[in-house]
């Protein structure tokens, strides 16, 4: 009887194990931020991925505090398999071994050739992230206002780009106070400006664009030192601040015009031009349809050579994935331009594959009437192809630390209470320390 009972127990245990031994379907997790529209498109892409591969995907949508969420998940060893990651920390995370190599995905044939300017490279030269979209910086302008003022539109071709002096001169012509006077004219009232010529996003991509145009950047040419306190960088920062405090052609940080979005600026004639990123075409197209505003685009002015920094949130495969091959496959799907055509046509994103910038058929597929304006081809597509200098965060892992030093230091420069030279000298030691720590961490 005892023996029979033992056999029965053993059998029932075996029966219990059978379902566990059966192959479980793979479920990957994918995380991203983004607005409702981006979420919907990604959900569609993920559903198609599941349909075509049989691999389930759990979508972890985190619209706010994404980095905090990822950091917490990393601390708990529960990172998703695949996801977005904030640009300034990508290389840092990769250098610490938190991200997997994406090279097999890029070489798998599932992904079209991506532009090098959109690849995040770790200290070992591995590709650890590829932007889901390219984004460059340019001048958006209100052609109706330019017509009213009788001023020529910003150049749309890089070879015709304004020098900084030409740009400042045009800015003076476009800026008008409440009495109709321009800067430099007798009786001009800088405290009551009706229309400013230009406003700029006070963000890294704008600063970097002008730094590259002055043949400098965040780092020295050998990549081992900081260039932010050297003369070319200081010249750029001072020139931008002078637009506010000396020329009175750009609103200061607290000015109402500076806190309006681009469409409101054009609708109210608060600013004639806005220096910002390509992604604005989506909201501008909606504003044009709803409010009847006009907009077009030109290339940035330059110091020594016309340049734009670029940006683009990458898709990455996280360290903790237990299904590396499947995660690479999912990353390939997200990188697939066809998947994200809605974003591209809506004006939010630019493709990341070089073919899309040179093949006329693909460009036709990309350009959308009512979204991409008359000069988009030259001032955006050709501009991005030929004049992009990749932002520093594609290759450096200390960008967040540098930005936390130099961007606050510029606050007083933009307010006119400190010179750029003094502000950068004030943080010089700290900048050097960040660099030294970084170089030590990757050696």
């Amino acid at each position: 009887m005892k023996k029979l009972l033992s056999i029965l127990l053993a059998l029932s245990l075996l029966l219990m194990l059978i379902p566990a031994m059966a192959e479980e379907p793979i479920t990957l997790t994918f995380s991203s931020w983004g607005d409702a529209a981006e979420k919907a498109i990604l959900e569609g892409a993920l559903a198609r991925f599941t349909e075509e591969t049989g691999i389930n995907v759990e979508y972890l949508y985190t619209p706010e505090d994404y980095v905090t969420k990822m950091t917490t998940m990393a601390a708990a060893n529960e990172l998703p398999d695949v996801g977005y990651l904030s640009e300034p920390i990508v290389v840092q995370w990769a250098n610490e071994g938190m991200l997997k190599d994406l090279t097999p995905a890029l070489e798998s044939g599932n992904v079209d050739a991506k532009m090098d300017s959109n690849k995040f490279i770790d200290k070992n030269g591995k590709v650890v992230g590829v932007s889901v979209a390219d984004e460059v910086v340019m001048i958006f302008y209100n052609p109706t206002y330019f017509d009213q003022m009788g001023v020529a539109y910003p150049p749309s071709k890089a070879e015709d780009a304004w020098t900084w002096e030409e740009f400042v001169d045009v800015c003076r012509q476009l800026t008008v106070d409440v009495n109709g006077k321009h800067p430099g004219e007798e009786g001009f009232d800088p405290d009551n400006i009706k229309t400013y010529a230009v406003k700029m996003d006070d963000r890294d991509y704008v600063y970097e664009s002008f730094l590259y145009s002055n043949d400098t950047g965040l780092f020295t040419e050998d990549g081992k030192g900081i260039a932010l306190y050297e003369d070319p960088a200081v010249e750029v920062f001072q020139a931008i601040a002078d637009l506010v405090n000396v020329e009175h052609v750009m609103p200061s940080a607290e000015d109402a015009a500076n806190n309006m979005d681009m469409s409101a600026c054009f609708l109210s004639n608060s600013c004639a031009m806005v220096v910002s990123g390509q992604w604005n075409f989506q909201s501008m197209a909606i504003a044009a349809e709803e409010d009847g505003i006009t907009y077009d685009v030109g290339v940035l002015p330059y110091f020594k050579a016309p340049k734009t920094a670029n940006t683009g949130t990458p898709v990455v495969v996280f360290r903790d994935t237990k299904h590396y091959d499947e995660a690479l496959l999912l990353a390939s799907y997200i990188m697939n331009t066809d998947f994200v055509m809605d974003f591209i046509n809506s004006g939010l994103w630019m493709p990341v594959s070089e073919d899309w910038y040179t093949d006329e058929a693909l460009i036709d597929k990309w350009m959308t009437e009512g979204v991409h304006p008359a000069h988009y081809r030259e001032a955006c597509i050709d501009w991005a192809l030929n004049n992009t200098h990749p932002s520093a965060y594609f290759t450096y892992g200390c960008i967040q630390q540098l930005e936390d030093l130099y961007i606050p230091a510029l606050d007083n420069v933009l307010l006119g209470t400190e010179t750029a030279k003094d502000a950068m000298e004030g943080i010089r030691g700290e900048l050097d320390k960040v660099m030294a720590d970084y170089l030590a961490s990757i050696s």
Binding site: V67, W93, E96, D255, A256, Q401, P408, A409
Partner: protein, 310 residues
Amino acid sequence: MKGTGNADLGRPRMSVMKRNEAIAGYVFMLPLLLGIVFLTYGQFVYSLIISFTDKSVFGTANFVGLQNYVKLLREDFFFWKSIKATVLYAFGSVVATQLTALAIAILLNNRNIKGKAFFRTIFYVPSIVPAVASCLLWMWMFNPDFGLFNAALKLLGLPTSKWIYAENTAVPSLVLMSAWACGAPMVIYLSGLANVSPTLLEAVDIDGGGAWTKFIHITIPMISPVLFYNTLMGIIAGFMTFTNSYVMTEGGPNNATLFVNYLIYRDAFQYNEFGYASALAWIVFIVLAICTLVIFKFFGKKVYYGGADQ
């Protein structure tokens, strides 16, 4: 006689029912106790331990002794800026909040005021407005270009300010904002004022004392326990402030509002340095503990508890 016979002598023996009740009591308390031990004190201990390590998100923790503390005190570019901003804010907000709360409470305590409940509600409401919502509201009011404050100053022909947008006015602006949400201490002051003995106030009247004498010599001593409590809580809340710098200023301009809690958050979640951030948190804890001790030492004895022991 001691120690002879039944060991339970001198202590009433617990009945079975009482013992069962006690066990049940502990069982019901257990979830809370476990929560406190593992989710609160456990974290304290954990953070203290990792403050002596180089614990980051990226890997295992190595013991580094006092290195994090030394680095913070000697080398960290942001630390002293942050401490200065936090101390300024904490003491500024305590003074502003307590004075405002006390002033409103005294006005509302006046017997002749009609619609007291209405006014109490009106003054209390700001303290229950969600922090982020009130931050957004104040951002609008502080806007130098189209905000309410500068509009009012212009109307009065007074010079305007850049409020939270300038380095030297950012902290005072946030102090002003903190005074707006003084509803909670105000309610406590009101309850304190209600306990001020009318007999004592009448005695001052009889002796020919005025309102000021009553306030200084009767009201303040009589409400000293709530004054003490509110001040202490205010300082702690001031040191713990986070939302205003996170939502309104992002620590700027030029790190003028980089309060310690925001710095801890940044070190932990942007730089991934959990050990370092924990060391910073413990330094704040020590500073707060010292502040509290100093306040107890110098002011604790001056608090009047109606003749009862503290």
